[in-house]
């Protein structure tokens, strides 16, 4: 099948996947907190309602920037599974995240701005990891595209244990889970209010939510790369990682940005750098 078809399919299916994942997340979190939790499809109802509500806009550029965020996030996923060069995809992924930062920063308000700056910091913390991860996967499989890695005879995970371990750490940032959700907060009592989404409402907030679902789907697709010999095993691994993230989210409080930056860099340097070094020395 033509890889472009996969790209188009991703754009259509990823929101459903991301939305369901958010639904499961909320039920599991609720159970951890001895609550019943909302119905599985609640995230979709929420999205529908957000789209109907009037958007309270502080300036004219936030909406186009958020559309850019959503568009580039969807494009990242489509390019990823659609067979574009993996390292290039890493750059587009960062670009997509940057648009969210710019949308929040454009508001010029204290809460949004603090959230935007912190999102930029987590981007700085996580970006080296994604570049190195994709470069290492290309190195072990001698492939440059998603399909190339999946059809490679080399099993990725056994060769990249350090990077897989670091993934569970860094994914916390991209999934916006505690202790690394320093730029935004789903918990009402925290000092940042809701960080970079403070001044987004109505359909603007819906774009952010939808982009986040794409982001979750992209992370799932990235985990599959590690288990390139069996896609179901990869999805199972993603489920395990995600379960861990929910547990961590519910059992930790937010860290300070300094800790997030330092710890992520140290993990990236030691686990990922070490793994990459071993790869280059052995191969």
């Amino acid at each position: 099948m033509n890889p472009i078809v996969f790209g188009v399919l991703f754009i259509l299916i990823a929101p459903i996947f991301g939305g369901l994942l958010a639904g499961v997340d909320r039920i599991v979190s609720a159970r951890m907190q001895s609550r019943v939790g909302p119905p599985l499809l609640q995230p979709f109802y929420d999205l529908g309602k957000l789209l109907q509500k009037e958007a309270r806009q502080v300036n004219p550029i936030a909406e186009p920037l958020l559309l850019g965020h959503l568009g580039f996030m969807a494009a990242t996923g489509a390019m990823l599974v659609g067979g574009t060069d993996l390292i290039f995809v890493a750059f587009v992924f960062a670009l997509a995240a940057l648009f969210l930062v710019l949308a929040a920063g454009s508001v010029n308000s204290p809460y949004s701005f603090a959230g935007a700056e912190r999102e930029l910091i987590v981007l700085l913390a996580s970006e080296p990891f994604f570049i190195l991860m994709l470069a290492a996967i290309c190195k072990v499989t001698d492939a440059s595209s998603y399909q190339g890695v999946l059809s490679s005879a080399v099993m990725v995970a056994p060769k990249l244990p350090g990077i897989l371990l670091a993934f569970t750490f860094v994914a916390t940032i991209k999934l916006r889970k505690s202790p690394f959700d320093i730029s935004t907060s789903h918990h009402a009592h925290q000092e940042l209010v809701s960080g970079l989404t403070s001044d987004m409402s109505g359909r603007l907030l819906a774009y952010v939510e939808l982009a986040h679902w794409y982001e979750s789907a992209i992370l799932a697709a990235l985990v599959v790369l590690f288990f390139n010999w069996s896609v179901p095993l990869g999805l199972l691994a993603f489920a395990v990682v995600y379960g861990l993230e929910v547990l961590v989210d519910n059992s930790t409080s937010r860290a300070k940005w300094q800790l997030v930056l330092r710890s992520t860099w140290v993990v990236t340097l030691l686990l990922v750098g070490g793994n990459v070094l071993a790869l280059f020395l052995i191969k």
Binding site: V58, N108, S112, L124, F129, Q258, F280
Partner: protein, 642 residues
């Protein structure tokens, strides 16, 4: 061809001399614009005449020879440097320059200077062509921009004594010598042009003649003269070798061990001029020069002379331990200055760190040497010259309007100077947002690093991954400031109307250039840069030259998105929207918050500079020491290899 080149070198020098005598600013405007157009036209004609052919070598027209003119020029430069140094009581620069003269005089008197083949004085190939176009077109635009900029500069700083005749003279003298530098094949000839560019830089940094700027000017002079001395000693060593002073023959293939010491010294010269660590300090001091100087000398062209020389040397040093060491100096410089860049608040200095970092990437590519990496190096030269030149000019314009270079004072720029913001966004996008140009180059570089075996490959990857993310952070901060909005007064809106036509012309042309080069990326890659890279390294694989349509489309979309958004927003009438959320406090869209007991407070938002995590000064010192150690090793390796 030969007369064209002589014209390119001589014409700006003559115009420079002429401008020295012209005090009427209207007349000066006319002369600068016309002469600029002639220079740009001549550079285009030269490129067209050359076509896409192979390298050509030639001497002076009508069988003229250089005779002893090089020695005379060198002595003249030395006399000037010594005189200025005595005036300002400096000792290092005269020592260095007299060392150079001593070497040249010794060579001349001892008769060791090999017979020069008259037909191989100049070397013109695709790389020279690219450089000539950059110097001719971007250089002209920057000169035209200066006409407006310098007027406002002196208006806003009345205490500085205007010496605009000297300023414009130096710009043109610089253009002429830069043309000469990039077409020289005979190393002693290149050295003369090299030294003249150093002098122009020195005089322009010290333009305001304050104690501070004179100090920075001498920093630049000392470091570049050290490189120049290295260059002279290299010439001394090469004079004994067959064809040693013929750059093209010298770099035709991997160097023999006997040549390595001289090559190490030439690399030293290249690294000083490209402001690589441990010599980065001079470029930061150079930021005190007027902004067009920073655009022309310290980002678009002169610092490129350093990487130009290293790219030329690349086939000779690649694969040797010398090449690897050079590459690591460049890549570590990229990492360290990117880390320092996130702690810097002065926009011009952020641009300077980014410049040093980009040059570091090119040095890395030149040291490692392969068709892909040479392609990357040349691509970065092109994009950086356009985008960074544009950014320096824009920051200069902003500085003359807002009276500040501080990134923090650029906030809500989109509301205050919408068109300037659109231009700034084009430049920033050209440098980094759009995965075009520099980012495509980085991506190709990562691909190439994957093929380098052993710990070197792994180290280069890690450096690249962290360095790239750091640049994302400081560009992101600048973008947040530029791309924010508030309601502005009529007076604030009128500020933009007072920017001169010269500045608009130059900035809009450069911004169009950024977009144009992005649009024709495929053609430039396949027709010019690719053939050059393949010819230099005798490579055959062409796969890297082809850029997928999906990638090209994404890049253009990302490049145009923000500038287009800024233009749209500046025309958007319906900016009568809600106030931002301030935890229930009343606010106005001007950013004033109501506090307790009826007090009000204006909101000030300040970027993060990673205080407490990254200590910029310490990082800079560590980088300087680390690269210094590498550099000493590099020269030692060269000497031992003999």
């Amino acid at each position: 061809m030969s007369s064209l080149i002589v014209f390119l070198v001589a014409f700006p020098l003559v115009v420079g001399g002429l401008l020295l005598g012209i005090r009427n600013s209207k007349l000066r405007n006319v002369i600068v614009v016309l002469a600029g157009l002639v220079v740009a036209g001549a550079s285009i004609v030269t490129a067209v005449t050359f076509g896409n052919g192979d390298a050509v070598f030639f001497g002076l027209p009508n069988g003229l020879t250089l005779g002893r003119s090089l020695l005379v020029l060198e002595i003249a430069i030395a006399v000037f440097v010594v005189a200025v140094s005595i005036q300002h009581r400096r000792i290092l620069a005269p020592v260095l320059v007299l060392g150079q003269v001593a070497v040249s005089v010794y060579l001349e008197l001892s008769g060791k200077m090999p017979e020069l083949e008259p037909g191989r004085l100049f070397w013109f190939d695709r790389l020279s062509m690219i450089m000539v176009l950059i110097i001719g077109i971007i250089g002209t635009l920057i000169c035209i921009h200066s006409l407006g900029y310098m007027r406002d500069y002196h208006r806003s700083s009345p205490l500085i004594k205007g010496r605009r005749t000297v300023f414009f003279c130096l710009l043109f003298v610089f253009l002429g010598s830069m043309f000469g530098l990039v077409v020289s094949n005979y190393l002693p000839l290149m050295l003369i042009f090299w030294e003249v560019t150093t002098l122009c830089s020195f005089l322009l940094i010290g333009y305001t003649r304050t104690k501070e700027t004179i100090g920075y000017a001498f920093d630049a002079l000392n470091m570049n003269m050290l490189g120049g001395l290295g260059f002279s000693v290299a010439i001394l060593m090469l004079a004994g070798q067959p064809d040693g002073l013929d750059l093209a023959k010298l770099t035709a293939g991997p160097a023999t061990a006997a040549l390595l010491p001289a090559l190490a010294l030439l690399c030293l010269a290249g690294l000083t001029k490209a402001a690589q660590m441990p010599f980065s300090r001079w470029l930061l001091g150079a930021m005190y020069a007027p902004s067009p100087t920073s655009a022309l000398l310290h980002s678009s062209t002169m610092v490129k002379a350093g990487v130009f020389l290293l790219l030329r040397l690349s086939p000779a040093i690649a694969g040797s331990s010398l090449g690897t060491l050079v590459a690591f100096v460049g890549m570590l410089t990229f990492l360290f200055v990117s880390l320092v860049g996130v702690t810097e608040q002065n926009t011009k200095k952020v641009l300077a760190y980014s410049t040093i970092g980009s040059l570091g990437l090119i040095v890395g590519c030149a040291g490692l040497g392969s068709p892909e990496l040479i392609w990357v190096g040349v691509m970065i030269i092109i994009f950086h010259a356009l985008a960074k030149g544009l950014l320096f000019l824009v920051v200069g314009t902003i500085e003359n309007r807002l009276y500040s270079k501080d990134m923090e004072n650029f906030d809500t720029l989109l509301s205050r100077l919408p068109l300037v913001s659109a231009l700034a966004l084009t430049g920033i996008a050209g440098m980094f947002i759009a995965p075009f140009g520099v980012v495509v180059a980085k991506w190709t570089a990562i691909r190439a690093f994957l093929e380098i075996p052993g710990w070197q490959g792994a180290a280069l990857l890690v450096i690249m991954a962290f360095g790239t993310s750091l640049t994302l952070f400081y560009w992101g901060k600048l973008l947040i400031k530029v791309l924010s909005m508030r309601s502005v007064s009529e007076y604030e809106r009128s500020v933009e109307k007072r920017i001169s036509r010269f500045e608009w012309l130059a900035e809009i042309s450069l911004a169009s250039g950024v977009i144009g080069v992005a649009a024709f990326l495929g053609v430039i890659s396949e027709q010019v840069v690719g053939p050059y890279a393949l010819a230099t390294f005798k490579g055959t694989s062409q796969s890297f030259l082809h850029i997928e349509p999906v990638i090209l489309a994404t890049m253009i979309a990302a490049l145009l998105f923000l500038p287009a958004l800024a233009l749209w927003a500046s025309r958007h009438e319906g900016y009568n929207t809600a106030d931002f959320y301030a935890a229930g406090r009343p606010v106005t869209s001007g950013g004033v918050m109501g506090m307790a007991l009826g007090a009000t407070q204006t909101v000030t938002l300040r970027n993060y500079y990673l205080d407490g995590v990254v200590n910029g000064k310490l990082v800079f010192r560590v980088g300087t020491i680390a690269c210094g150690v590498l550099l000493v090793t590099l020269i030692a390796v060269g000497m031992v290899a003999r």
